[in-house]
Structures are given as structure tokens and as C-alpha cells.
Symmetry: C2
């Protein structure tokens, strides 16, 4: 990315480094002040100190709120709070909206109720609704009192929708026009604006009761003869609009599929009540995919990398606890066969291979099925077909990889029957993994649960315990 | 999502079900034709058959290309190809652009060179560049011949940039204006267009040599007095533009951070050569996060869920092979201690717990560090601090969970010293996991490798082999 002033793709990183540099100099001065506590130096040092602070402040004032948010996230706690103090108060609200949840919490903690109130009052109703869950109740109360009745209504509406709904993402900034006027009138109307809402690529054509009658894109406003009526030019059919109760994920897919920039949000009577923009959708997509990736590793939420040790422990413990239980179950399965292992200790060395490969193969299957379900592309009717395919893949892998491992086991332990048991156990565990990988997400979907949550834990638990049981069981039956 | 015709959020699924329904009826007719091979029925059946095909075709003609792509992806191979045959030829190109790579391949396979050529010729140069890698060379050759010199130049340019660069995402549709004209002239100029390029939210102000002088947003065009000059109204400072060599991921982050809809792409001399739009960026973000999620499960690419068994095996084998090697190494580590296991078989049952919990904890650490590095928020200087924090977290977890497991082992096997070894091994393996989780991605970044690729495999390999070694080693030293 370049601007006229020759900035480069990594210009945020550049900003970050500059801020870090200024902070380091600032620290140096402070350490000098502390070391040489001689009164006559005081004045000089205070001046140098002030100079650094001033240049840091100037740097911060020149940055986009999103860039300041990025820098705050990248700084350790003490430096972060130092920078936060220097940010102009009227930008607090915008910046709080941009930072990650964890960092937002750390910033809000340090702010006085009046500061929070001032920050909150600088925001629109839909932005305020995003921030509200992190604010102390008395601050929200105060802010609510200060709003006019329309603002209160909007805030109440925005806060009433569940997190992953269109209502939670929508804003209330939109330009509406009537259908019985000419484009010339619309053009004159727009010239009365100081600015248009961000991402205005279309105007919503409504009647007196705000019912959506059509869409007037800026494009058709611009390319058509100004003498024409809005009604002649507006798009009346196949208008893509959303209801606030709609799933945000469906809306995001629609934005992606139809390349939308903005779309009206209407109530059941088709009255326009808000607007969804691609900026909100992009943020939503990014957050969703972050959450999915983090949940794969059992992290509850994005962790502020400079979070306290204690916060990190809390963020991660649930997953470790679940894992401990599944590992303990697998261990008890092995415990059942301690007699067999005592007689043939090679089993102990070989069993983790069977369990591990099964887990990996199962994770491949379940990842694919979960994603296909999420896209809405897998009907129940396809289940049999998918199961058949996955089982065929598992059979091939079982024979090939299991056969290879069987040969290895035979070579290592000079026992052809041990090799045969290894191959059989691998194949069976891969079949178990394939079946569980298809059936678990399908069943969970039918039961109305999210097929993705914890799918990896579940499948690994099954293939671990199952793998140990199959391998040690077969060995006990055929080798001892 | 609703349209004027009362469609609902899941309307693509609705379309899919309608198509599936029509296909099912179609199949029924075909099976009747096959069963009762009586000539006098022929006419009737052919008629019924034709009717179904006609209604299917009508349905398809009414759909957006992205919706047809969605439906093609959701259909098994034979039905997919049947539907593909019915799609109007002039829409082939657009639809091929929308489908996933795997499905695109399956569709292109069935098309004659002339069909492919016709489909390709319906596309813009930047779209053609996306499709080109999947087309037979002779088709590309033919299409290239049919382009005018500007088109050839654009196609050559678009194909010359690496996959994850801005150049590969940009298009060549843009409206440029000069700075010395009035807004009124711009408005009149725009009225000469049949349509504006998608996602036109700003016009690029250039000089005679196409050097970027400023940005005229449609907003400022609309809200300002038409008598004003472009130069007075356009934005001249802090214009966000990209170079074609810029990293697409950086560009995507900039679009997200600054809520852009479109941005100019310029060469080194600041000549405007193309344009990046939020639609391309959204597609890129979605593909990136898909790829990341799939790679966690060791899937090379998005798999067509109705792919042949053989294609699926190929997509998955590399990961299984890597896994086999790491599992074999871990197995050999256990092999070193077979004597100890023979003497104390409880070790065999307890060792997978130590390895498993270590793997999970290590994956949590590495996921966090890799993400922070990807955001550019971790400098080398932060490494010591992060390492210290992760080691503290590991110590706490080791003492708490390791202690709990030690008590369990003591209770199960009536050996307090076995419990103590269990606790010590858990703690040491968690420390190993934390260290590796911080150091591996940092080192890989310094070596210029992508810290994300295979990070999960690496850390699991280390914590598995390490966990077995630590636990069995401690047991051999202190228990036997």
C-alpha cells in the first residue's frame, strides 16, 4: 500500500516501529531521571521528556484509529496504557471499537466512568451496541439517558439482536428517497449533505411509511438522464435485502456471492430499518475464521499476546481439562490389556502409531464434512454416498499404509503375525475414523447442534481409545 | 436474505432443493423409459422428459451465476454434468470463475476446446488470468490470438504476478478523469456510460501519462457544487494505493482496516494500471481462511465432496505419510525403553497421557504465536517476554494438571513414586511444548519460512517423542 507520501505495504508495521522507538527514548529519559536524582537536572530532563511525549502524541494524532488500535494491540501492557493516555479523548470511542476484545477490556479497566461516558457518546447507536457489553452498567445507563428518543430506540433495537444475527451487524446510516421525484431532485437533495454515510453505493427508495419500493444505485443515478423519475430508473426486482433476525453468516455468504457493498435491512412489513455494509461483513468473516482457527487449538478466544499469565491459563484450561478426560479414558483402555503388553512389550511401542494415524485420518474426514455442511451443500440424502466414499478411501489407506507398517513391524520384531495384526488394526481404525468422521457431524446437525464445535476432540477421542482397543484386542486374540 | 419475491435467508439452498427435485423427476422418467421399452409410449415419455428438462433449464436461466456454481458444487458428478449441459453457453465463463478449483476441473474435463474457447472469450483479461491455469494450452493460445493488443497486454500482465500478490487480484475496469475539469463535466461524462464498472465508489484522477493525481469519490462528486473543479474537490493526500507486487494479504488487511471499497493499483512511476475491489479482497480472505483451516487437517486443497475416491486419496496422502514418519519416530523412542515397560507395565498405559496433553498445550501456544506473527505484531524483541509468559503458563498447568494425574496414577497403581514421576514428566513436557511453541515459529520466521505451514505437525512430533522420552526416561531412572 502506498500513499502520496511514499508509504509501503507494511506501513502499519512502520508506524508501530516508530511508536516503539519513541517509547524506548522516553523510557531512557525516565530511567535517567530515576538514577541521578539531582535537582538541577530536573528541568532539562523534564523538557526532554516533554519533547518525546509531544512527538509521540503528534505521531498518534496523525494515525487512523484502526492503526492506533493495531499499535495498542502490539504493545505490552505498560507501554499500551502509556500510549492510550496520549490518544486524544474524542478518538477513544472509535479506537475502542477497533481493538480486539481482550485489549479492549484492558483499556476500559483503566478509564474513569466519565471518560468512558464521553467515549461512548461519540459513537453511533450501532457502534455503541457493539461496545455496550464491555461497559460498566452505570455508564450505559448514563449514555442511554443522554440519547434522544430515536437514538434510544436504535440502541435498544441493536442490542436486542443475538450476536451472530444481521441485526447485530447493521447500522442506521442510510439515505432514502421517494420514487415520484426526478433524478435531478435526488442530485440536488444529495448536495445538501455534508457527507454521505460510508459505503453508500445505493439509495433506498421508500414510500411514506418507509416500505422498501426499490433500490437506486449511485451508478444509475449517475448514468441516467436527470430528467427521468426515480421510479423509471430504480431496480424493483430481485432486490437483496435482509431481516434483522437473519443469520449473519448467511448474509456474509450473500455479500460474497453477489458482490454487494450495502444492502437494506427490513422488518417483516418490509419497512427499511437499517443497512448492512460490506465493511461489517468483512469484519464478521475475519472474526468467524479467527474463531474457527483458534477453536481448533482449543483457545476460547483471541488472546491478547501480552495478557497476564493468569488470563492465559483461564483461556486455555477448559480444553486441557477435556483432553485430560479423553486421554485418561484411552489410558484405561490400555490398562485393560496390561497383561498382554507384559507378555509382548512390542505392543506398547506400536500402539501409538495405530491411534495417531487414525486420529489424523479422522480429522481429515470430519473437517471436510463439517465444511460441506456449513456451506449447506450436504443433504441427509448424500450421507450414504459420502460414507461409502470415505470408507473406500479408508480401505485404500489402511491397506497401503497399514501394509507398510505391518512390514516394518515384521522387520523390527521378526514376527509376521505381529505385522499382520498391525495391518488389520490400522485398517479397522481407519474405517472407524471414516465412519465417525461422517456420522458425528451429520448426527449433530440433525440434533440441531453446531457440527463444528469440538469435532476434532471428539474424533480424536474415538480414534485414540478405539485404536488402542482394536490393536491390543486383536493382538490378545491372535498373538498370545 | 429476501427479495421482492419473498425469498428467505437460505434461498440458495431453496434453489438447490428445487433443482434436485427436478433432477429426481427427470431420473424417474428416464428409468421408466428404460424399463418399459414399448415404442408407443416413447412419444409421451419423450414429451414428459422434455418438459422436465425445460423447467430445469428455465430455473437455471433465472439464477445468478454464483448460485449456479453453488448448485453445481452440491451435486454429485453425473447430475452436475447433466445440469452443466443445460446452462446457457454464454454463461459458462462466469460460472467457471465462481466454482471451486476441484469442481472447475471436473467441468472443464467434459468441455470441447471450442466450448472452452467461447467461454474464455466472454471474460475480461483479469478473469481470464484466473481461469488460465486450468485451461488446455491450445485453448489459451487461441484466446490470446483473438484479443486486441490492449487485452493481450493486460492478460500478460495479470498472468505475470504471483498468486498471492495484488497484481493477481486486480482488474482493469476503472474510470479515470482529469483534474482540470468541473464536476459538471464529470457528471456529463458519466452519463455517456452504459454502466459503470462494479464497485465504482471513486474515480481516479490522472494526468495525460496516467499518473495518479488524486481520488474523486462518488460521494464528493455528488455532494459538491457541480461548478467546482475536480482539483478542488479531489482527495490528494493519504491516498491508499497498491503496487501489483504488494502482498495480497497486506492489501486485504488494509481494505479491512480502512473500510475500502476500491483502490487504485499503480506502477513504480505512480501510473494507474489497475484497480483492486473489495469483492476480490473478500474472496481472497475467504480462500485464505479456508486454506488455513484445511491445512490444519492436512488437506492440500478444498476437496470436491463428490470427488472420486482416488482424488481424495491423493489429496490426503502427503499428510498421512508425514504423520507416519513422526509416529514411527515416537514408536522407536518407546522401543528404547521396552525393558522398563516390561518391568512396570503401568508405564505403557500412562505414557500416552503425557504425550497427548503436551501436544495440545503446544498447539495452543504455537497457534497463538503464529497468528500474532502473521499480524506483524510480534517483534523479535518480544520473544523473551513471550517465552517467559508461556513457560509460566506451562508451569502452572504442569503443577495443576500434572499433580492431578500424579494423584490418579498413585491411586490406580498404589505407587507414590510413580505418581511423582507422572507429575514431573507432565510438567517437563509442558515446558518443552511451551518452548517449542514459541521458538519454532520465531526461528522459521527468521529463516524466511512461513511460520504457519505444518506448525501443528512439528509441535506434535516434538511433544510426542519428547513426552515418551521424558516419562519413560524418568521412570527408568527413578522407579527401576
Amino acid at each position: 500500500m502506498t500513499t502520496e507520501e511514499e508509504l509501503h505495504p507494511d506501513d502499519v508495521q512502520q508506524h508501530l516501529r516508530e511508536v516503539q522507538d519513541l517509547l524506548a527514548r522516553q523510557k531512557l529519559v525516565e530511567s535517567l531521571v530515576h538514577r541521578q536524582d539531582m535537582p538541577r537536572h530536573d528541568l532539562v530532563e523534564t523538557l526532554v521528556h516533554k519533547q518525546h511525549v509531544a512527538s509521540l502524541q503528534a505521531k498518534l494524532d496523525s494515525l487512523h484509529p484502526a492503526d492506533i488500535a493495531y499499535i495498542l494491540e502490539a504493545l505490552p501492557r505498560d507501554e499500551r496504557l502509556f500510549v492510550w493516555e496520549l490518544v486524544k479523548a474524542e478518538r477513544d470511542g472509535e479506537i475502542l471499537l477497533e481493538v480486539s476484545d481482550a485489549v479492549r477490556e484492558s483499556l476500559i479497566e483503566t478509564m474513569a466512568p466519565e471518560e468512558l461516558k464521553a467515549a461512548a457518546e461519540s459513537l453511533d447507536a450501532d457502534e455503541l451496541a457493539d461496545l455496550a457489553p464491555d461497559l460498566p452498567p452505570e455508564v450505559i445507563q448514563d449514555v442511554f439517558q443522554s440519547l434522544d428518543s430515536e437514538g434510544r430506540e436504535q440502541l435498544r433495537a441493536a442490542m436486542s439482536y443475538p450476536e451472530d444475527s444481521v441485526g447485530a451487524l447493521m447500522d442506521f446510516d442510510m439515505v432514502t428517497v421517494r420514487e415520484d421525484i426526478t433524478l435531478e431532485v435526488v442530485l440536488r437533495y444529495l448536495r445538501r449533505f455534508e457527507e454521505l454515510p460510508d459505503h453508500t453505493d445505493k439509495l433506498f427508495v421508500v414510500d411514506r411509511e418507509d416500505h422498501l419500493k426499490g433500490i437506486l444505485s449511485l451508478e444509475s443515478l449517475l448514468i441516467n438522464d436527470p430528467e427521468m423519475d426515480v421510479a423509471e430508473v430504480m431496480r424493483k426486482e430481485a432486490i437483496i435485502s435482509f431481516e434483522p433476525e437473519d443469520d449473519a453468516d448467511d448474509a456474509a455468504q450473500a455479500f460474497e456471492r453477489y458482490d454487494l457493498v450495502s444492502a437494506p435491512v427490513v422488518d417483516r412489513e418490509k419497512r427499511v430499518i437499517g443497512r448492512l455494509t460490506v465493511a461489517d461483513v468483512v469484519d464478521f468473516i475475519r472474526e468467524e475464521s479467527e474463531a474457527e482457527i483458534l477453536s481448533h487449538a482449543g483457545l476460547r478466544e483471541e488472546e491478547d499476546i501480552f495478557a497476564s499469565v493468569w488470563d492465559s491459563v483461564k483461556n486455555r484450561w477448559a480444553w486441557l481439562a477435556v483432553n485430560l478426560v479423553t486421554a485418561f479414558v484411552a489410558s484405561r483402555v490400555i490398562g485393560l490389556f496390561e497383561g498382554s503388553i507384559e507378555k509382548l512389550v512390542a505392543l506398547a511401542a506400536l500402539m501409538p502409531i495405530v491411534a495417531g494415524i487414525g486420529g489424523n485420518s479422522g480429522n481429515q474426514t470430519i473437517t471436510m464434512i463439517v465444511r460441506a455442511i456449513a456451506m449447506g451443500q450436504v443433504e441427509e440424502s448424500a450421507m450414504k454416498r459420502l460414507l461409502k466414499k470415505e470408507i473406500s478411501v479408508a480401505l485404500i489407506n489402511g491397506v497401503v499404509w497399514g501394509g507398510l507398517l505391518g512390514v516394518l513391524a515384521w522387520w523390527l520384531y521378526h514376527s509376521i503375525s505381529l505385522g499382520a495384526v498391525m495391518t488389520a488394526a490400522m485398517t479397522l481404525n481407519l474405517l472407524l475414523a471414516a465412519t465417525a468422521g461422517v456420522v458425528i457431524p451429520m448426527l449433530r446437525q440433525r440434533l440441531g447442534a453446531d457440527p463444528a464445535v469440538g469435532s476434532s476432540v471428539l474424533i480424536t477421542a474415538i480414534t485414540d481409545s478405539g485404536g488402542f482397543f482394536i490393536f491390543l484386542g486383536l493382538a490378545t486374540l491372535f498373538l498370545l
